[in-house]
């Protein structure tokens, strides 16, 4: 646990980088500091390993003041991942990862063994070990940066905008990878970013900081999205916080109706019967995989769907996993299709049923009134925590795979 107690930083010229701040980063959790530039988020982070000294207050790691050790000694016990990875260009990947163990006086063999093991942990191949940083892609460099920070198995990890310099696709990979690692390692992570999406995706708790180092709100992502405390937080979250919050809730509460689903080779009588009851029919193939939508008017008079070319069917946009995806994915699926209907599929891709935008509304309402999501990061991180018992919002299964992980 990292505790900031009335921590402040005022520079000699009077500039306040961090106003007196109280903040606690729980053990084994990811705490994200997010804010615009000049909000003191990096300053707060660097005070933990004393790269910056506060001018007021104290910082405790598991109750021990960070000033009780020499700065270099303290730093060797805290992992640090920096923007652009900050790898030592003159050292091989392996030597980079061996840095802290060697500083701690481990033997070369032990440090090398540990470094090789970590390369695998962060998803790099052993063949990368002998390369120099310039021979790696940005994403690979950052993986090495994470491995280097983890080398001596520190309980605390400081991550200073680690993924902000890589392209969005790689960033998403790295974020997913970090959550996977964290589910195995349970480090106490303090993560700085200016990207609110990243904060919401990664954070068990998110601290929103304003210019001048003012802590505006410190909450779980869902609470932040549901109840921003003030205009600053609200505007920082953006205009889609309601929709975004849905990504923390499972779509298992969505009623999926099988009636509009019809096989392309279904008997004419069945097709004609369904045409009467449904404005849109979802045509599926022999494997029950979706082909596309058909309006009632487009159904041939004799009910023979094979007369309709697959190309004439209306696109269904994308499907959502009925058991695995979030309400947000379900809603997006409905919005994307001209039929305004979402197609829910099982894990094998077979269509379970469809739901219109209107039919999604009750599930969305239920999510909005639920203070704690039944899936997503909140579920993952709060599981088994007696202090914050999870109260599922009525729908869904607690064993659902959190879709953000």
């Amino acid at each position: 646990m990292i505790s900031f107690v009335q921590v402040g930083k005022t520079y000699p010229d009077g500039t306040v980088a961090v106003a007196a701040t109280d903040l606690t980063a729980d053990s084994g959790r990811i705490t994200v500091l997010v804010g615009p530039s000049g909000s003191g988020k990096t300053t707060l982070l660097r005070m933990v390993n004393r790269m910056i000294e506060p001018t007021g207050g104290e910082i405790l790691i598991d109750g021990v003041d960070v000033r009780s050790k020499s700065a270099p000694e303290l730093r060797r016990g805290i992992g640090y991942v920096i923007q652009n990875a900050g790898l030592f260009p003159h050292r091989t990947v392996l030597a980079n990862v061996m840095t802290v163990p060697r500083l701690l006086g481990w033997s070369r063999d032990k440090a090398r063994e540990r470094a090789m093991e970590l390369l695998t942990t962060v998803g790099l191949e052993e063949s990368h070990a002998k390369r120099y940083p310039f021979q790696l892609s940005g994403g690979q460099q950052q993986r090495v940066g994470v491995a280097r920070a983890l080398a001596a198995d520190p309980p605390v990890l400081l991550m200073d905008e680690p993924f902000s310099a890589v392209d969005p696709v790689v960033r998403k990979d790295l974020q997913t990878e970090l959550l996977r690692l964290q589910s195995e390692l349970s480090k106490t992570i303090l993560f700085v970013t200016h990207d609110i999406d990243e904060a919401i995706q990664l954070g068990d708790k998110v601290a929103v900081l304003n210019t001048g180092g003012v802590l505006e709100q410190f909450d779980t992502p869902t609470e932040l999205l549901a109840n921003p405390k003030n205009e600053f937080v609200e505007s920082f979250l953006g205009l889609d916080r309601g929709v975004r919050r849905l990504s923390f809730f499972s779509s298992t509460g969505v009623p999926l109706r099988p009636e509009p689903v019809v096989a392309r080779d279904a008997p004419a009588a069945e097709v004609l019967a369904r045409r009467g009851a449904q404005p849109w029919l979802l045509v599926v193939d022999g494997g029950h995989k979706p082909l596309g939508w058909l309006t009632a008017e487009q159904v041939p008079a004799d009910g023979d769907l094979t007369k309709v070319a697959v190309g004439e069917l209306v696109s269904y946009g994308h499907t959502f996993g009925a058991e695995t995806d979030s309400l947000r994915a379900a809603l997006d699926s409905a919005i994307l299709s001209p039929s305004s209907r979402a197609v829910g599929v099982a894990e094998d891709g077979r269509v379970v049923g469809v739901a219109s935008v209107e039919e999604l509304v009750p599930a969305i309402r239920a999510a909005q009134s639920a203070s704690v999501p039944d899936t997503g990061r909140g579920d993952l991180s709060d599981a088994g925590d007696p202090v914050n018992p999870v109260t599922p919002g009525g729908q869904g299964d607690r064993d659902d795979n959190p879709e953000t992980v």
């Binding site: 790269m51 640090y80 923007q83 260009p89 003159h90 802290v100 310039f134 940066g145």
Partner: protein, 216 residues
Amino acid sequence: MRSAGLFPHIPSYLGTYGSLIQQQLTMALLSVLFGLIAALPIALLCVRYPKIYPAVVGLLTVIYSLPSIALFVLLVPSTGLTQTTVIIPLSVYSLAALVPNIVEGIRGIPEDVRLAAIAMGYTGARRLVAVDLPLAVPPIMAGLRVATVGNVSMVSVGTVIGVGAFGALFTAAAQLSRSDLAVTGIVVIVALALACDLLLVVAQRLLTPWNKRRSA
């Protein structure tokens, strides 16, 4: 008098080509070595206290502009007509090439690398040896090349106090009207300078396999 061939006979009092080359290189390389040894602490002070850096560069430039002959005259009473009298001014001249390169080399280390080194828990001295200086090798080598090539040539000036190696050959060429000796002297000095330069380039490549600018 025979003057054919690349290496015409030289007056015996000058010794052999081999002994001249040896003198030339000894004085040139020792002065670069001593220059480097002196430049490191000066440069590190400039990195530590950036305010003194412009003054230091100014001072080194002024020193560089002093005629070497004048410095020899000043030194002869204490160091005599020896190689030391030649080596000292040349060492000091090397500083003008070496100090700024070391300073810029260390300053040029990317901020994220510098911060990462601090965050990993390096102490100041260890960081200098393990991170800062290795990363400053390319600019330091560039400074060494300038200083070395310059000194290999400038050693000749020592002939005014009688220890000029190939300088003595040029003096003899003037006195004996043997332009062939002068040409040979120039060719040998240029060849020595290029050879030293080439060795430094090779050394740099061996020292910096991580440098992407050459491996690309």
